[in-house]
Symmetry: C2
Amino acid sequence: MKEKLKIFLVDDHTLFREGLRFLLSNSELVSNIYEANNGKELLKQVLNIKPDIILMDIEMPEMNGIEATQEVLKLYPETKIIALSMYANENYYTEMIDAGAKGFLLKNSKFEDVQNAIADVYNGKNYFSPEILHAIIKSLNKKPKKQNTDLTEREVEVLYNICKGFSNQEMADLLYISKRTVDKHRENILLKTQSKNTAGLVIYAIKNNIFEV
Amino acid sequence: MKEKLKIFLVDDHTLFREGLRFLLSNSELVSNIYEANNGKELLKQVLNIKPDIILMDIEMPEMNGIEATQEVLKLYPETKIIALSMYANENYYTEMIDAGAKGFLLKNSKFEDVQNAIADVYNGKNYFSPEILHAIIKSLNKKPKKQNTDLTEREVEVLYNICKGFSNQEMADLLYISKRTVDKHRENILLKTQSKNTAGLVIYAIKNNIFEV
DNA sequence: CAGATCATAGGCAATAATCCCCACTTTGTC
DNA sequence: GACAAAGTGGGGATTATTGCCTATGATCTG
C-alpha cells in the first residue's frame, strides 16, 4: 500500500465535511484532503488533483453523486469512489454501483469503518456497510426464482424457442415435428399460462426462469 | 453473546470435516460439535440437537445443501446456517440465500474467517466471503440499465404496450390513432431494434428498461 | 387393464402481424 | 425557406397466430 492517499470529500453539508476532514487529517492513511460542495465543483478539480479516493455524498444540489460518479470515472477512471449516504435506499446503492462506485458507507458509520472502506477500496476490494449488505442480500432474496409451471417438458422447450424468436414453422423444422404440433403446443401454453399472445408468453417465460434476458 | 455454541458440520468429505472439527474444538466460541455426511443424516438429528450454527456443504450425495437448508429451516427455524462451498458459483449462493442461509464461506477461507462468520451469523448478521461478495456485486453490476435506444417517444409507448399484451387494434383504440399507424410504428420498431417478431421486441424492451418484468 | 397425460397431427377459419408500396402534416433546425 | 424527423394514415399481400374441432399411439398410474 502506498503510504499516504489523496482524499477528495464531496458533500454539500459543510459541517459534516469539516468533521470528516478533521478525522481524516489525523489518520495515517491520508496525506491530502480536498473538498467540493457538489458534483460540478468536483469535476472542475478532479483532473488537476487526481485523488486516490473520493468520498461522495449522493444527495447534492447542482449535480448529484450518481451523475458525478459517472462523469468522474469518464474523466479519470483510476479514482476509487466510495458513496456516503444518509439512507440505505435500494435505488441509491444500485445506481451508485452501476455508476462505478466501489464502496458504500452510511453516514452513521463509525470512523473506523470509513478507514476500513478507504483501505479496502484502495486495494481493489469492495466495501459495503453492513446495512447496505443486508439490503443487498434481502433484495437478492426477494427474487422468487420459482419454476412453478405446470408446463410439460415439450411445452417448456417450445416456449423457450418462442422467446428465442423462432416461428412455429422454424420450431417444427428444428424439432423434427409438424408445424401443426407446434401450433398445438403453443395453444396449450397460452391456455396454461393464461396469456393472450406472444408478448405474454415471453413475459411468463422470463418470470418463471424458462428464459433469461 | 452466549458463551459457547453448538455447531453442526455437514459435509461428505470426512477428512475435511475432521480437520474443521479439530480447529473448532480449539475455538473459544464452540462447546459441542456434531457431524453428518449429508442432508438426510442432518435432518434425522437436528431436532434432538438443536444446533446454534450449521456449517453446510452444498455438493453432497443423498440430499444436497440447498434442499437440506430448506428442510432444516422448516423443522427448526432458529438455526443459523452457513454454506461452505468449494466454488463461488452464482447459482449456489443465490439458491442458498433463497433457501435461507445467513452466510457463505469458500473452503479456501482462513479459519479466522470461519470464526468471524460464526460470530456474525450467530449475532443475526450476514457473513459472506470476499469472493462471494465480489461475485454478488458483479452480478448487480452486470445489469447495464441502459436506455440506449434510438426509438422515438411514440415508438417507446407502442413497444411498452406491446409488452403489456395489447394488439395493434387495441393500442389504436387506446391511443386514439388508426390501427394502420400502430402497424407502421411496430414495423419501424422491428427495424430499429433488429428484431424479427414480437418475442424479440419484448426481450429488447426488457433489456433496455422500457418494460419491467 | 382402464383412465389420464403427453406428444403427435390434421382441417378450417378468423384475427394479427409483417412487409412492401405510398402520402400528408407538424415541428424544429440550419 | 429547405430539409429532416416524427407522427399520422392508407392500399395490398403474405405469413403467423390463435381458436376450436378431431384423433391416434405411447407412457404412466392406480
